[in-house]
């Protein structure tokens, strides 16, 4: 008997070594059926390696992984029948038309010719590519290629979808369209694993987030849990001279929900801001502390803030700067 958990993705002690380098190590997570997991990390964090293992393109060096209840190594053929992949390199054929690409993928999923044709038309429509359907893909913009790539991953309506940085290189408008489409797919019951470098994206789309750093899991939990750890909006202050960093951090402390963090390189102080703080008050406090503020703004927390918050030892507390 298969539990609902098993029908999604289960990863246990997964590791992959390239020569001497572990691209992925001791990774455990699960994507329950019908949920979305956001795999968050910088370039080189191991996100693509994880996706490649789960889509049978790479064998793990250690550990095991199952997709739709099938082991990715021993039952690779069964896994391939249950998945759709939108890779980081747009994995479509530039010398075919968009329509021909989708029909070809449908035929390779062994859909009957007629079904493959109908499905291609349906997906072109759904991803607003109907007007470009008979153009060669090499003439497409990056965003159009991405959408076609996503369409290709949906051809067989697979129960589990892998999307490797689906919005990288998209303009803001296409990104929002793509988010809406993903939300629609999830409502229809798809299990989705997506990788991203943007905390905002993972927050918006994912039920659970796994933060990867150097091939290892740095943190995981729901977006709410992660936010509790990292705080909300950031107040970012850039100062004119390095000796103003400490007074600036002290002044910011009154408005912060957690200790301000000093970024010496950028001559910046960053702090998670408490609710209801007025920027005018912050400016006044900085002025009173004798800080020549060159820039001050509020912003959403980024992946960097996540790392700063969860990898405490590398965080530089203001006291240490003074020494």
């Amino acid at each position: 008997m298969t539990s609902t958990q098993d029908a999604g993705v289960v990863v246990e002690g997964l590791g992959r070594r390239f020569d001497e380098l572990w691209a992925l190590r001791d990774v455990d997570f699960a994507v329950p059926q019908g949920s979305v997991l956001g795999l968050l990390g910088h370039n080189g964090a191991g996100k693509t390696t994880a996706v490649k293992i789960l889509t049978t393109l790479l064998h793990p060096t250690e550990g095991r992984a199952a997709v739709a209840s099938h082991d990715v190594v021993t039952d690779a053929a069964l896994v391939r029948r249950s998945i759709g992949l939108a890779g980081q390199q747009a994995t479509v054929d530039g010398l075919l038309t968009a329509r021909a690409n989708l029909q070809m993928v449908g035929r390779l999923y062994h859909l009957p010719r007629k079904v493959a044709r109908a499905r291609a038309d349906e997906l072109l429509e759904r991803l607003s590519l109907t007007d470009a359907a008979d153009r060669l893909v090499k003439t497409f913009s990056g965003g159009m290629r991405r959408r076609l790539d996503l369409a290709a991953s949906l051809v067989a309506a697979p129960p589990v979808l892998f999307l490797d940085e689906p919005t990288t290189g998209l303009d803001p408008r296409s990104r929002i369209d793509l988010w809406a489409l993903l939300e629609e797919l999830v409502r229809d019951g798809a299990t989705v694993l997506l990788t991203t470098q943007y905390l905002e994206e993972a927050d918006r789309l994912a039920d659970n987030i796994v933060v990867l750093d150097g091939g290892r899991v740095a943190a995981q939990g729901s977006p709410a849990q992660l936010k509790t750890r990292i705080g909300g909006e950031r107040l970012e202050v850039t100062v004119g001279a390095p000796d103003e960093l400490l007074p600036a951090a002290a002044a910011l402390g009154h408005f912060a929900s957690d200790q301000p963090v000093v970024d010496g390189d950028g001559a910046r102080v960053v702090a998670p801001v408490r609710a209801g703080v007025a920027l005018a008050d912050v400016v006044r406090a900085l002025d009173a502390a004798g800080v020549a503020t060159t820039d001050l703004h509020r912003r959403e927390p980024t992946l960097d803030d996540v790392f700063l918050a969860i990898t405490e030892p590398t965080t530089t507390a203001p006291e240490e700067i003074a020494a």
Binding site: H59, G87, A90, V92, A100, L108
Partner: protein, 270 residues
């Protein structure tokens, strides 16, 4: 239907889908067929009318002598098409797409082989017509003529697999072009393809006599009844051109096919 027969059916269907993909590429970029269409026509004109007047063939007409050389040279350049398309595909993200689909893994290779073989057949048809236009004729019976065309198909198949191997091990499509020109030009010219080998200096004559290209060309001339201009003291392969041509093709295929498949497996291993 047994599970094995079903797998075979799906594998064949996958191969045809991918062969169709490669043929669509040709439809989009007809220049891909230049090496099997325009290039042989150019060589026919060049040799038949530019150099031909200055080349004497003992016991025969140069145009009749020339065509077998053109046939084999063009088929030899046929390594280029499959090599380029394999090298291009292996460097692209589209391969990841194919590998993540529930298709037969071998279909990617067989799709290329089928499409390229069809392209080679088109080239053969073009050359045959061009040859007939410049005065080349088949002087043997139907059986020998059929054997001649059979040999041409075998050579096309052999060259195609050399190209598959080359394209799979090459680091890029550009590397392929370099290798092909450096190897194929001397290989086809230091042979009996365009001039009787007897006219070459002795060292080159030895090379030409043992060159597999010479065996293939001589076999074709023999089967089509064209002048062969093989001297009486030629080594064994040229005294028995059909047998040596078949042996060359069999030997090359026996080496190249397993190597190409192994190289493809290695390039796509998980």
């Amino acid at each position: 239907m047994s599970a094995y027969a079903e797998r075979l059916r799906l594998g064949l269907s996958d191969s045809l889908v991918l062969a169709g993909r490669n043929l669509s590429h040709v439809r989009q970029i007809p220049e891909k067929l230049i090496d099997v269409t325009v290039q042989p026509l150019m060589f026919v004109i060049l040799f038949a009318y530019v150099f031909g007047g200055a080349i004497a063939v003992p016991g025969g007409n140069y145009h009749e002598y020339l065509m077998a050389g053109i046939f084999i040279q063009t088929l030899t350049f046929g390594v280029m098409g499959p090599a380029m398309s394999m090298a291009n595909d292996l460097g692209e993200g589209v391969l990841d797409r194919f590998r993540s689909l529930p298709m037969a893994r071998s279909a990617f290779l067989s799709g290329h082989v089928i499409a390229e073989f069809l392209a080679a057949m088109l080239g053969l048809a073009v050359m045959t017509v061009a040859g007939l236009v410049v005065g080349w004729r088949i002087h043997t019976d139907v059986a020998h003529a059929a054997a001649g065309f059979g040999l041409l198909l075998l050579v096309a198949f052999t060259m195609l697999w050399i190209g598959m191997l080359l394209g799979t091990v090459a680091r890029s499509a550009d590397a392929v072009t370099g290798i092909v020109f450096i190897v194929i030009f001397p290989l086809t010219f230091v042979a009996n393809a365009f001039v009787p080998a007897g006219t070459l200096p002795s060292v080159l004559q030895t090379v030409a006599n043992w060159n597999p290209i010479s065996s293939l060309v001589a076999a074709l001339r023999t089967l089509f009844g064209n002048p062969t201009a093989i001297p009486a003291n030629a080594p064994w392969p040229l005294q028995h051109p059909v047998a040596s041509a078949l042996m060359w093709c069999a030997a090359i295929l026996a080496v190249v096919v397993p190597l190409a498949i192994a190289a493809y497996r290695k390039r796509t291993e998980a």
